[in-house]
Symmetry: C2
Subunit: 293 residues, 2 copies
């Protein structure tokens, strides 16, 4: 797919995700967090555009000439551009981790039929250098993640250790996949991303795009306890949020209850960030497949 086509789908996916409302617990068009505001997400989405384009270009060269995709370096570049264009801190780290390999895969693909297979192969072929680049990106975004096997994400010595042990980006994400949904997507075939792309496509036909995105987010939340919430508040809290989401869905997902759920989570500062990131990736895949607003 054309590089500007891919970059536009990626930036628009981030815009549509953050705009979808009410999206319980997260920033949306109707509410900000204290330090991170809706506008910071708008700026970050646009800031990353040239990096999405570069990812698609690298993907095309990988498919045509077998050249390497620098996934780690591209993720770091997206994070750096995001931080350069807005002052709200970490807006899109998890989303960039998903969207960059997907953008590379889209650049390598004619239509979307090979998109998933290409994304998986691109991730499997990541190198030690990609892992080190990701580790360089963490401190810039001041992102909250667990350390993988004593490899403290904020300690520069981890980079030497990664090199010594010869761990590729794929290797590291396979370890963190145990407790992190983004890593699970990246090493497990992007299962939720592609499943919810279909949910959003179908939901848009029935109820319009905003409702379809909110619904997909809520369904994912109800069946997959959010791993960002688990890291921040413990597994039990994440499971409780899922249960609560199931209740809202079971009672017909009406506006008033959605809004109450949203307010509850906001008050407790429980933001299901991993679910939002995978929702953005799902919107990206749906747009690549031709979904339009």
């Amino acid at each position: 797919m054309d590089e500007d086509y891919v970059a536009r789908c990626a930036a628009l996916a981030l815009l549509l995700e953050v705009s979808a409302s009410p999206k319980p617990g997260n920033v949306d068009r109707h509410h900000d967090f204290a330090d991170t505001k809706y506008e910071h997400f708008l700026a970050s989405a646009v800031a990353a555009y040239p990096v999405f384009r570069a990812a698609a270009q690298e993907g095309a060269k990988w498919a045509e000439e077998g050249r390497k995709c620098h996934i780690g370096k591209l993720i770091r570049a997206a994070v750096e551009e995001s931080m350069r264009w807005q002052s709200g801190g970490n807006t899109h780290f998890g989303s960039f981790m998903l969207l960059i390999p997907l953008a590379a895969a889209a650049g390598a693909s004619e239509g979307i039929s090979r998109l998933k297979a290409n994304a998986c192969e691109i991730m499997q072929r990541t190198t030690v250098e990609d892992a080190i680049e990701l580790y360089k990106a963490f401190p810039k975004a001041r992102v909250r993640v667990r350390s993988v096997e004593q490899l403290d994400v904020l300690d520069p010595r981890s980079q030497d250790e990664i090199r010594r042990r010869g761990l590729t980006l794929y290797d590291i994400l396979r370890i963190s996949a145990d407790y992190d949904a983004i890593s699970r997507e990246l090493t497990g075939g992007f299962e939720l991303t592609f499943k919810y792309a279909e949910v959003i496509r179908e939901g848009t036909r029935q109820a319009g795009l905003n409702a379809a995105i909110v619904r997909a987010y809520l369904e994912m939340l109800s069946t997959e306890p959010d791993t960002f919430v688990a890291t921040k508040f413990g597994e039990a809290a994440a499971v409780e949020v899922s249960k609560r989401a199931r209740g809202v869905l079971a009672r017909g997902c009406n506006d008033e209850e959605l809004r109450r759920f949203d307010e509850e989570l906001l008050r407790a500062k429980i933001n299901p960030g991993a679910t939002a990131d995978i929702t953005a990736a799902a919107i990206f895949v749906a747009l690549l497949g031709g979904l339009r607003v």
Copy 2:
């Protein structure tokens, strides 16, 4: 300025303009029109990114090698991309008319000190071909404008007439400047655009970006009767809206009154579109000058 820097400022300006709320009478993050929704504006802003980049590239070549900027063709391309990526109809016609020459001027400029002069010169050098390209764009966007001197914007024969009379884009806009604020900006030195860029920069320091944009929009509305409203509802209606905006400002521009003004205009379907377009151009200039969210 770098072409991707320019394109990001342009796309982000459109996003910030449509998101600013409450922006009496227009689509914002909190309300849609019946057919044109907030999401249509998001998609349109991103859709035009490659055209903004192309405009900046043409501007750079104009400055370095004296090559022509194809302003008319670029405006038509932006309109076409916008319509291809969303189904809400005309979202950004007036904004594109302002942002394209400004993007070309930014590509031709090192900093922003020569931006205004370059934008003026680029407009003065437009050709008959640019005028014809603009006339080709009108029917695509189904945009509501008056005909200039019997040159019906929806009649393809107008193109032959423009050629016969040797009218450049600048010539035509000089005529419509009498009753159209966008044309006035494009032929009169972008006075409001640069004035309100400063208002937004200053206002952001004092009250934050969203409040600064709303305030700039309202101030412009209060002193410059909106020409889009005048075309649609008559001069008296436009003057009345200005008077109403002056009252809101005089009483301290409080949230409740702003919202009431917004509801009044929405109910009457009075949308000050020209004011919104010039506000977007002002945000673009402020971003080019270094304003960040």
